[in-house]
């Protein structure tokens, strides 16, 4: 199960990757429908097309390992173990959401299983994950931390400062750059003379690996190696996953002008789930019927999650000011 290319993985492990990618896909499809039906209040940035990245990375993480995510974080959340019910309920602003309605799509939280928050601000996931790794190292817990971020974040100061310090101090952290070539609608290549994030690693002295982000096995192998390095005290890795989002930046936005239909079609043809399906079938790991059964199960789960969320209550208005301060020092501030 370690990073050697082509090393044997068990069938269960391989199907687990498939299941996770499908879970992300089918849950996101529910959210797309709900958004179109006007049931979601804020912005929704779906992970459709990028499923292989979160799946391949999080497969190596335990409950106590920490993940810091982005505005496009549903895939990270589901891969880390947030149930679809809690994700959908959160976007519907319900009390049963993983952040009890406080956060919506961009502020998902489930620290109990190491999901330390997605953020509406680009960049802090890098420094926060480095900080989490610092705590792990200090306290000798053996945990690793993962920062997910996009190509846009590579130009933010947090990238520079966070990766520099994490490398200087040998922190157990993995920096995963999901390079989908556009920061919102700005092409990466238009705002930097070096649009290859993995190559920036040498500036800080840590390894930089670039993989095909739509190949879940490639992601899985590279991530596995990076996690091993981190856990064994060898320090951080910068992992660039080249991928693509086939939908607009966020639901409801126009998806035209900054990219061509041909480009989208090209990447749709490289759909990570379809590609992996092909591999599983070709390699004889699973039969079509098995894969269909998994899909059916996952679809049902996603549908049930949507129904659960729609039937869930709203949070109590009076609770909104709770938890501004810790219990220990509760009291009026002014």
């Amino acid at each position: 199960m370690t990073g050697k290319k082509g090393a044997a993985m068990g069938k269960d492990q391989m199907l687990a990757l498939y299941r996770t990618m499908l879970l992300i896909r089918r849950t996101e499809e529910q959210l797309v429908k709900l958004y179109a039906a006007g049931k979601i209040y804020g912005g929704v940035h779906t992970y459709i097309g990028e499923e292989a990245v979160a799946t391949g990375v999080c497969a190596h993480l335990g409950t106590s390992d920490t993940v810091f995510s982005t505005h496009r974080g549903h895939g990270h959340a589901l891969s880390k173990g947030i149930p679809p019910r809690e994700l959908i309920a959160e976007l519907l602003g319900r009390a049963t959401g993983c952040a009890a309605g406080r956060g919506g799509s961009m502020h998902l939280f489930k620290p109990e299983i190491g999901f330390m928050g997605s953020s509406g601000i680009v960049g802090p996931s890098i420094t926060l994950a480095a900080g989490s790794a610092y705590a792990a190292k200090l306290r000798k817990t053996g945990q690793v931390s993962v920062a997910f971020f996009g190509d846009g974040a590579t130009n933010n100061g947090a990238f520079h400062e966070g990766i520099n310090m994490a490398t200087a101090w040998g922190l157990p952290v993995l920096f995963v750059c999901e390079n989908n070539m556009y920061a919102t609608e700005i092409p990466y290549a238009a705002v930097t003379k070096n649009p290859h994030p993995a190559t920036r690693a040498s500036a800080y002295g840590l390894p930089g690996i670039a993989v095909d982000g739509n190949d879940v096995l490639a992601v899985y192998q590279a991530a596995g190696e990076a996690v091993r390095r981190a856990r064994s005290g060898e320090g951080p890795t910068l992992l660039e996953c080249r991928t693509y989002r086939t939908r607009a930046h966020s639901e409801g936005m126009r998806d035209a002008g900054y990219r061509t239909q041909e480009e989208i079609a090209e990447w749709k043809a490289r759909d990570p789930i379809k590609a992996y399906e092909g591999k599983l079938l070709a390699g004889g790991t699973a039969a079509q019927s098995e894969l269909d059964a998994i899909d059916a199960e996952v679809r049902a789960r996603a549908e049930e999650a949507a129904a659960f969320a729609l039937a869930s209550p709203m949070p109590e208005p009076a609770t909104v000011t709770e938890h501004v301060y810790s219990e220990m020092q509760e009291g009026r501030n002014a």
């Binding site: 952040a99 420094t127 926060l128 817990t141 100061g157 020092q329």
Partner: protein, 325 residues
């Protein structure tokens, strides 16, 4: 009881806490082997090593962000920012992450972080080494703002700050660092939200912020010669603010002056005055008065510094004016 300087007392508090809890670590520029630009960590590197006394590059946003992540993940970091003017690069992450993670996670993430360092106007420190900025942190929900004015309080409040699960701004006025004062022996903790009556009086109340407490006490001494009895209150923590002690004083005196070297608009004085108006209106015999620094960045030339911030004599005059109101 021992006589110690403000900075030594604070450091003693930090040392005691670091001995007590291995999850505490300090991060900042020059706070490792060098012991800190202001001797805030002198001697601790030899005891606890580089992982707990972590020297950083000049990356205030980055290392503050790292400490936020560490605090959310079970450690108890102390960010030693040296001058608050440098910390401004980190304000974005402080407002968006540090103050909000507890609330966003519904209390599941704690934020036991202390952000400590120097504030205040000092002679010829000029525009980039004279910052105050604490009203920002008083204003935003989630922060605690601690500003001791005596060595004893510096130690007691730093210890409480480190033990708090909330993010704390522990702000030390640079003109107080060398101030000597009594520090109790043994375990000494000062709670948040409890002002100190630095001097009792019955004719007029003065609330001073940090270094201004000392100036107000000098002014009170001057006025005592004219038979005027001035009560001086040191809030010690601005958030939470002990408004009850201030209200109780105003109930006696009927007149209140707030002295704060920081700029007037939206400052500490305006908050205190509003709260006194809300809850003590009928006790007022005159409008609440404030004395602030001039609304401009700190200059360099001593001539330009002449009227920049309140002095003992301008406080005396303000009190006389208030009594004549």
């Amino acid at each position: 009881m021992r006589e110690m300087t403000f900075v030594d007392a604070a450091r003693e508090g930090l040392a005691e806490e670091m001995a007590r809890d291995p999850a505490i670590f300090v991060v900042g520029e020059g706070i490792g082997a060098r012991g800190g630009n202001f001797n805030t960590t002198l001697g601790l590197f030899d005891l606890y090593g580089p992982e707990r006394l972590r020297d950083t590059p000049i990356s205030e946003r980055g290392f503050t962000g790292i400490c936020i992540g560490a605090a959310a993940s079970g450690a108890r970091p102390v960010v030693d920012f040296m001058f608050i003017d440098f910390l401004t690069d980190a304000f974005g992450d402080m407002f968006n992450q540090m103050s909000k993670l507890q609330w966003m996670s519904g209390g599941r993430l704690k934020m036991p972080i202390v952000v400590r360092g120097c504030v205040g106007v000092a002679p010829s420190n000029a525009a980039h080494h004279s910052g105050n900025y604490y009203p920002f942190f008083m204003h935003i929900p989630g922060f605690r703002v601690v500003m001791p004015s005596t060595p004893g309080d510096a130690k007691g409040l730093l210890k409480t700050s480190i033990r708090s699960d909330d993010p704390v701004l522990f702000l030390e006025h640079k003109n107080l660092l060398a101030l000597k004062g009594p520090v109790p022996d043994g375990e000494h903790l000062v709670p948040f939200g409890k002002a100190a009556v630095a001097r009792e009086g019955k004719d007029v109340t003065v609330v001073g912020v940090a270094f201004m407490v000392k100036k107000a006490l000098e002014a009170a001494e001057t006025l005592a010669k004219d038979g005027i009895s001035v009560e001086v209150i040191d809030p010690r923590t601005l958030a939470p603010l002990d408004i009850d002690t201030i209200l109780s004083s105003v109930r006696t005196t009927g007149r209140l002056l707030v002295v704060d070297e920081d700029f007037a608009p939206c400052g500490v004085a305006s908050e205190i005055a509003m709260q006194v108006m809300e809850r003590g209106f009928d006790d007022l015999d005159a409008p609440v008065k404030r004395l602030n620094g001039l609304s401009c960045p700190a200059p360099y030339s001593p001539a330009l510094m002449t009227n920049l911030i309140p002095t003992t004599s301008t406080i005396v005059q303000a009190l006389r004016d208030l009594l004549a109101e």
